[in-house]
C-alpha cells in the first residue's frame, strides 16, 4: 500500500478529425497506488475511456494522438515504449475489461481458446499445463463445470457468464493493474452485485490495482477507495471516497450526486444540470462547466481554473472554491 503504481501527469490526448481537433483529454493527472481502486466518474463523452485507452496506447490510429504528458507505470514512462514493448505490457501487466461482454468476445472461438490467447503470448506453457491454467482461471471467476465449459462458445452463455469470461481473460496473466470500463452496465442488478464482489475478491487475492470507469456513483460508493470526477476532458475534483461523498466541493460533483434518486430517502425533485456538455471541438474560454454551473460567477467565464489541493488529498478545480 501507498506505493505509486501508475502516475498520469498532464496527459493530453487529442483527436484529429475532419471537423477539427477535439481535445478529448486535456491535461489529466492522477495516480493509482498498489492494491487501490480508483473510480473515474463522468458522463459519456467526458474522456474517461480515451484516458484509459491512452494508458494502453490503444488509441484509434491515426485519429487519436497523445500530444503531451507522461504516463509512468512502475517507474517507466509508457510513452517512450515501442509498440513491440507495449505488447509485452498489455494483458500481462495492465489488462482491460470492456463494457459490453456481448461484443468483446469473438463468436467464432471457444472460450477455452480465447482465455488461452493471452496466456500463450505471455507465458510458455505446455498443452497440459495450459489447459490446467485455463480451468484454474474459469474456477477463479466461478464458472461451474469448467472442464465442460472450455469447449463452449460465447453464444451458449448468459451475459453475466460472458462478463466473467472476459474477466478471466483479463486476469489470466495476473496483471498489476486492471482497467474496468463500465464492466457492469450491461448486466442485471443481482448479476452486477455478483460480479463486483468477484472483482473485489480477486483484487485482494492478487494485490491488484484497479481503475473503475463508471458513471454511477453507487458503484463508486461500493468499491472505490479514491475518486476522480471528469468533465469535458479534465479532472474537476479528486478525493478519497468518503471525503468526496461527505464534502463534495465542485458544483458539477454536487449536481451529479443530487441527480441520483436515492433509496434511503424520499425526494420531491432531483437536481438537474441544465443544458448539454460543451462541444469539445469548440471550447469557450474560462471554465468548461461555466455554462451549466448553478454557482457561476463573472470570473468563471474568462479565467480557467487549475486543479489545486484544498485538503489533504482533496483536489478541486473551481475558481469559487479556491
Amino acid at each position: 500500500m501507498g506505493k505509486k503504481l501508475l502516475e498520469v501527469r498532464d496527459l493530453k490526448t487529442h483527436l484529429f478529425t475532419r471537423r477539427g481537433v477535439i481535445k478529448a483529454v486535456d491535461g489529466v493527472s492522477f495516480s493509482v497506488d498498489k492494491n487501490e481502486t480508483l473510480g473515474l466518474v463522468g458522463e459519456s463523452g467526458c474522456g474517461k475511456t480515451i484516458t484509459c485507452l491512452s494508458i494502453l496506447k490503444l488509441l484509434p490510429n491515426p485519429v487519436g494522438q497523445i500530444v503531451g504528458g507522461k504516463i509512468i507505470f512502475d517507474n517507466v514512462d509508457l510513452l517512450s515504449k515501442s509498440e513491440k514493448e507495449m505488447r509485452k505490457i498489455r494483458g500481462r501487466r495492465i489488462s482491460m475489461i470492456l463494457q459490453d461482454p456481448m461484443t468483446s468476445l469473438d463468436p467464432l472461438f471457444t472460450i477455452g481458446e480465447q482465455i488461452a490467447e493471452p496466456i500463450r503470448s505471455h507465458q510458455n506453457l505446455e498443452r497440459t499445463n495450459l489447459r490446467k491454467k485455463i480451468i484454474e482461471m474459469l474456477k477463479l471467476v466461478k464458472i461451474s463445470a469448467p472442464e465442460a465449459r472450455i469447449k463452449e462458445y460465447p453464444f451458449q452463455m448468459s451475459g453475466g457468464m460472458r462478463q466473467r469470461i472476459v474477466g478471466a481473460i483479463a486476469l489470466s496473466c495476473q496483471p498489476d493493474l486492471l482497467i474496468a470500463d463500465e464492466p457492469t452496465t450491461a448486466l442485471d442488478v443481482t448479476i452486477q452485485a455478483q460480479f463486483m464482489r468477484l472483482l473485489k475478491e480477486i483484487q485482494q487475492e492478487f494485490n491488484m490495482a484497479m481503475i473503475m470507469i463508471t458513471h454511477d456513483f453507487g458503484i463508486v460508493a461500493k468499491v472505490c477507495d479514491r475518486v476522480a470526477v471528469m468533465y469535458s476532458g479534465k479532472i474537476v475534483e479528486s478525493a478519497g471516497v468518503r471525503d468526496l461523498f461527505n464534502h463534495p466541493l465542485h458544483p458539477y460533483t454536487k449536481a451529479l450526486m443530487g441527480a441520483l434518486p436515492k433509496m434511503e430517502e424520499d425526494m420531491e425533485k432531483l437536481t438537474t444540470i441544465d443544458g448539454q456538455p460543451p462541444d469539445l471541438g469548440h471550447l469557450p474560454p474560462g471554465c468548461n462547466f461555466a455554462a451549466r454551473c448553478p454557482e457561476v460567477k463573472e470570473i468563471c467565464r474568462c479565467d480557467s481554473p487549475i486543479l489545486s489541493e484544498i485538503n489533504d488529498g482533496h483536489v478541486v478545480s473551481c475558481l469559487r472554491v479556491q
Partner: protein, 324 residues
Amino acid sequence: MSGIILEVKNLKKYFPVLKGLVFMKQIGLIKAVDDISFTINRGETFGLVGESGCGKTTTAKLILLMEKITCGEIVFDGKKIDQQSDVDLIEYKNSVKAVFQDPYSSLSPRMRVGGIIAEPMVVSKTFSHKEIRERVSTLLDLVGLHPDSNNLYPHEFSGGQRQRIAVARALALNPKLIILDEPVSALDISIRAQIINLLRDLQNKLGVTYLLIAHDLAVVKHMSKKIGVMYLGKLVEVAESKRLYRNPLHPYTQALLSAALPSHPDIRQEEIILSGEVPSPLNPPLGCRFHTRCFNAEAVCSEEEPILKEVEENHQVACHLIKI
C-alpha cells in the same frame, strides 16, 4: 380523480417453441407472463421491476395489445378490452400510449419532429390541420423543447431531447395511461434527472397514469406509488413503494434490494448475493420458481407453487414461508 384505471386479471402469454421447417412441431412453451394480476389507480405510478427476461416488457406489450393475449383479461376504465371489437379498441389505443427505452431507435430518422409528434393525431382523424399545428407547438412547449424544433430531424437532437420528443408524441392524444418502458436507462445521469423531473411534472399537471418498467430500483422507488416485483413471468410481491423498501418480504425482493448500489460509502447493507442466474423460462423450476436460488428454501417450495396473497394492507407476497 381516484379509483382503478387499469386492472389486469390472470394475464398469461405463452410463446410456442417450434421446430422443423415445413411440418412445424411444437416442442415447448415459453411462459413469458404466467398468470399475473394487478391494478393501477388513476393518476398514480405503478412500477414493475425485475431482471431481464422476467416478462416486464411482455406485460407492457400485452397491455398495449402489441401481442396476442393467451389468456386473461384487461379491464380499462371499467370496460373489458376485447381484442376483436374495433370501435372500443380505437378508443383504448388512443388512451394508452408508450415511451420506449432507446430514443435513438424509437423515432423515425426520416420524419421531422413535427411530423413525429403529429402522427397519432393525423391517424386519429379528429383534428384539423390548424389544430394539429397548434397542438404540436403546445406539446413541444410542455416537454421543454423550443417550438421551432418541429422542423428539425431527430438526429439533430441529443438523447435527452429525443426522449422529450417521444414523451410529446405519447401525450399527443391526451392519453390516460402511459407505459414507460425503461425510459431513462439509455441516458446520462444529469439528463436522466431532467427526464424524471419532466415525467413527474407532467403527471402533476395532466393527471396521467404511468406504468413504469425499469430495472433501476432507485428510479422506480423515486417515481412509483406502488411496485410489483416480477421473477420468471410471475409477480412475487406487490406493495406500496415505501412499504416494499422498508419491509421487503419475498426473499427475491430482499436480494434485489440488497444488490442495489448504496448512495454513500458508509452505507453498508447486508449483502445477499444470489447464486447462479435466472433459470430458462422454457423449463421453469417446479413449485416456487425462485426456489433454485432461494437462500431459505424448504421442501414445500419445490413441490407446490405459492400464490400471491395479501399479508397486510396493500402488501401481497407469493411465498410459502410467509405466514399470515
